[in-house]
Amino acid sequence: MLFENNDYDFDVLSLAGFSFSEPEQNYFGFQDDALVNSKEGFLRGNMWKNEYEPYKGMTYMPLRPTCEREALLYQIMEKDFAVNDLNLYLDLHPEDQKIYEKFKQYTKECIELKDQYAKQYGPLSLDQTSGGSYEWMKNPWPWDKSGGSMYV
């Protein structure tokens, strides 16, 4: 599993190449390395290498899932984030086939992980409702700290 080696447990990295220069706006001639992977992108809040501007050398804080449920949830959030960030780009560049292929890949991975989560822990969206009892209203809700095992 993605999190077995504490993959999310990063220290704050020192500043590397922080720049005030304008991001490249035209992704025509897009290279495969225009994107970071979804885990790095999720932690940064930014999938695009040339648009990343960390503040004063602060990149991101460690995420430390405390149980398998939380680890799986973080993976879903990661894929969902990648889908969203590519979605905004594709709204303006629907002709970019390479990014569209990445978008489809992340969408598929997100759906698969959400299905796995729903089977093990309950639905994340109402259309995932199945099984013998109504689970949707059960804790934890995303804003819960206690009473909900701090899973988000």
């Binding site: 704050v12 991001p23 706006q25 999720f42 932690l43 940064r44 809040g45 930014n46 695009w48 648009e51 990343y52 501007e53 960390p54 503040y55 602060m58 990149t59 991101y60 804080m61 460690p62 995420l63 949830l73 973080y74 879903i76 959030m77 969902d80 984030f81 969203n84 960030d85 979605n87 905004l88 780009y89 709204d91 303006l92 639905p123 994340l124 969206s125 109402l126 259309d127 949707w136 809700w141 995303p142 804003w143 700290k145 206690s146 701090m150 988000v152």
Partner: protein, 185 residues
Amino acid sequence: MFKYMKTLNYPVNIKKRDLKMAKYLHTQFGGSNSELAAALRYFSQKFSMPDEKGKSLLNDIATEELGHVEMIATMIKQLTEGASVEEMKAAGLGDMYSEHGLGVYPSNASGVPYTTAYFAVTGDPIADISEDMAAEQKARAVYENLIELATDEDVIGPLLFLRQREIIHFNRFKELYKHYKKRGY
């Protein structure tokens, strides 16, 4: 229409109570450059976008911003959870407590309620998108102020994430602005 997904956009797990920080964070819940103002601004402006690019981008960023409203409100809730009245008073939150208890109310850091007067809808894509670009930069600056005020990495982490989203949104709006200029708007 909207459908809810039972996750946050990015994890918020704040273990340490910090009432002053909760007070400061209200600026991004219900202040002039808040996530709530952003969400409603783009949501409202989408109805007068003239082509597919504008309609889709405004719609999709508005949707994301609503997720950011939820993140900020969650941070405020977790920072104040279990606070006593004395602690609230000591942190300058006595006024807020008198009306809202430990509820999370969309106001700015000084307790002024959110108002839609914080943003405009002109029906003119160039004017609206110019405002959107400025709004993203103002929100980025506010996140940097909040990061300077924060002391707990459980708070700084989500703020760094949200700041980065302002940068991406600004870049997308700027692209859309150039697109409409080219089209003669």
